[in-house]
């Protein structure tokens, strides 16, 4: 049964709890003692308040136990007390670097239950903004993974180029980080005058920035030495842990929800390539995200060429009551597969929302992945898996 009776305090490593994960066998000749090191919750490498309790033998990790929940805000409980427009504000903050992308699956679920379809223009604009938020997240990743590995400079370039995207998002929605722009049935507002031309020039900047990152970071021998062969996630193991998105594609799995799942937004009309890499190590995760940034920029340019004129909001009653039903909508968010299982009882707010966030599953593989690696490699692996604490902790 469970070990609910005798629970050691949170700051101690629960040896019994970790027994099922066999410890890495290091130093079998010299039986050196173990050292327990707390990486976090305040630590520059853990992208927020993630705590990794690692047991070290010298510089090798014997076992690792992530402790999460420092940012747990109880979203699933909160959604039971909020109306749909209020929940849109909340879920912006799950993955705060690509906020727009979090709203899309939830509102798609509500629209499905109501039987409403947003007009084509708003679908296109939603796609453009989703891809822009994907570019913004990935540019930050391309910069800060270099930072985690020791190169100070790419981080600044990543932030600098990301400013263009954030300015675009702010011009359209009013908010750089938390746009809160989606509504059930469409969008809050139309695009401002001249936005499309600005967006085109920003995409050129993004494509140039990707070339820069390819030369500066991917081409650097030391970066390659630090990331090749580090943190290999085999495809089967990754899938069984629920690792998704770029991480799984970097292990060779050809699966992208924009192409393979039930069609959403305007992805069926876009021509894009799904990138995979056979290696599954940290280098390939970086490489995949670089290619996907370029691909997203191209997709944005395609959307901008095809945006139709028209209304941006469907006819929706003033007080939105979503009829009884349940549905599951999942989308390819920048961090991975994000999904909402929405159960509605006909009220103005949902009955139960299960938020399936990508980083939760991505981080759950850490106890398996970190056995036997060096401490610097722990940092590299954390950086390459690219999680956001709000996404893990909800």
């Amino acid at each position: 049964m469970s070990t609910t009776e005798a629970r050691p305090p949170a700051f101690q490593v629960d040896r019994a709890a970790l027994r099922h994960l066999a410890d890495a066998q290091v130093n079998v000749e010299l039986d050196t003692g173990d050292m327990i090191l707390n990486l976090g919750p305040q630590h520059p490498a853990t992208h927020g308040t993630l705590r990794l309790v690692v047991r070290l033998d010298g510089e090798r990790v014997v076992s690792a136990d992530p402790v999460i929940g420092y940012m747990h805000r109880g979203y699933e409980k909160l959604t039971e007390f909020r109306t749909y427009p209020q929940i849109t504000t909340l879920i912006n903050r799950i993955d705060w670097l690509s906020s727009f992308a979090n709203e899309v699956p939830f509102l798609n679920a509500a629209e499905q239950l109501m039987g409403i379809e947003a007009p084509p223009r708003s679908q296109y604009i939603r796609t453009v903004l989703t891809e822009l938020s994907r570019i913004a997240t990935f540019l930050l990743f391309l910069g800060e993974m270099g930072l985690q590995v020791g190169a100070l400079t790419p981080a600044f370039y990543g932030f600098r180029d990301r400013e263009h995207i954030l300015n675009l998002i702010e011009a359209a929605t009013g908010g750089r980080f938390h746009p809160n722009f989606n509504r059930i049935g469409g969008l809050k507002d139309d695009l401002p005058w001249g936005w499309i031309a600005e967006c085109r020039s920003a995409m050129k900047i993004v494509l140039d920035a990707c070339d820069d990152f390819e030369d500066l970071v991917l081409g650097n021998e030391i970066f390659e030495a630090r990331t090749r062969g580090i943190g290999i996630v085999p495809a089967g193991v990754g899938a069984s842990y629920g690792v998704s998105g770029s991480n799984l594609r970097a292990s060779g799995v050809d699966w992208d929800l924009r192409r393979d799942a039930r069609p959403y937004l305007v992805y069926p009309e876009l021509d894009f390539k799904v990138w995979t890499h056979p290696d599954g190590d940290s280098y390939s995760r970086y490489w995949i995200r670089l290619q996907e940034t370029r691909e997203s920029a191209r997709m944005v340019l395609q959307c901008l060429d095809q945006i139709p004129a028209g209304p941006i909001m469907a006819k929706v009653p003033r007080i939105i009551k979503v009829p009884e039903g349940e549905t599951w909508v999942e989308t390819e968010n920048p961090l991975g597969q994000m999904g909402y299982y929405v159960i509605s009882k006909g009220a103005t707010g949902p009955f139960r929302v299960k938020i399936r966030s990508a980083s939760f599953s991505n981080v759950s593989i850490l106890p398996w992945l970190l056995r036997g690696v060096y401490v610097p490699d722990v940092i590299t692996i954390l950086a390459s898996l690219y999680f956001i604490l709000g996404d893990i902790d909800r």
Binding site: E324, G325, W328, I343
Partner: protein
């Protein structure tokens, strides 16, 4: 599905066009687990939801992984079908907080009682998707653990236990995931209150202060009837 006005009442079982892949999935499950193990199934907005008997929970996962190529575990979580605490009337026009119905209904595939555990599996190769549900006994909520089959179930089951109190048999170490180790209670249960509401009950739609040049709004919402 492109309608302008929403349907009046919700249909519990919204069934799309017959889906041969879903039928095949249900047939395989029925074949391997026995006809008595499949209590109900439905296709809801192109998602297949299958409710299995509690004794067949782990074997259903085994069948899904081995026969249906569902190698990807999306999530495992729980549902508490008891009605949510009510915060107002249906007719008040108060849009600041949802007013949940007080009758208990059980969703697309029904339920034997208050608790259910549900999980979503997918196949990375054939892109097949499957939602499995099972009932959990009220008095001693306990369900078989999926950790031997999907190692990723570890964290999902820890979260489900900590939020609902549903114990997973065979889980190696059921301990708190998000909450501190000494936390008492299971927050996602409907009888566990939202603490913000305990501190201050929801005031409803309060009068909105007018802008400097506007006259005071007469019926800018009115006092909420939530008390």
């Amino acid at each position: 599905m492109a309608e302008d006005t929403p349907p009046d009442t919700g249909d519990v079982d919204v069934v799309d066009e017959p889906n041969p892949e879903h039928d095949e999935t249900v047939a395989v499950l029925r074949d391997r687990l026995g006809a008595g193990a499949i209590l109900d199934h439905a296709t809801v907005f192109a998602n297949l939801v299958v409710r299995v008997a509690p004794t067949a929970w782990r074997s259903a996962a085994q069948v899904a992984r081995d026969e249906l190529a569902c190698d990807y575990l999306s999530f495992i979580s729980g549902i508490d079908w008891e009605p949510a605490p009510r915060e107002g009337d249906d007719d008040s026009g108060d849009t600041s907080s949802p007013v949940q119905p007080t009758e208990t209904t059980y969703g697309a595939t029904g339920s034997a009682g208050r608790w259910q555990v549900f999980a979503h599996l997918q196949s990375t190769s054939t892109h097949r998707a499957l939602t499995l549900k099972t009932d959990v006994d009220d008095t001693s909520p306990s369900v078989e653990s999926w950790v031997p089959i999907y190692p990723g179930a570890d964290w999902h089951e820890r979260e489900c236990w900590e939020m609902f109190g549903i114990v997973f048999d065979g889980h190696p170490a059921l301990r708190h995931l998000y909450l501190p180790s000494d936390f008492e209670g299971h927050p996602l249960r409907k009888d566990f209150p939202l603490l913000a509401r305990v501190v201050k009950p929801w005031p409803g739609l309060v009068d909105v202060e007018p802008m400097p040049d506007e006259p005071a709004a007469d019926d800018g919402g009115g006092e909420g009837a939530a008390e």
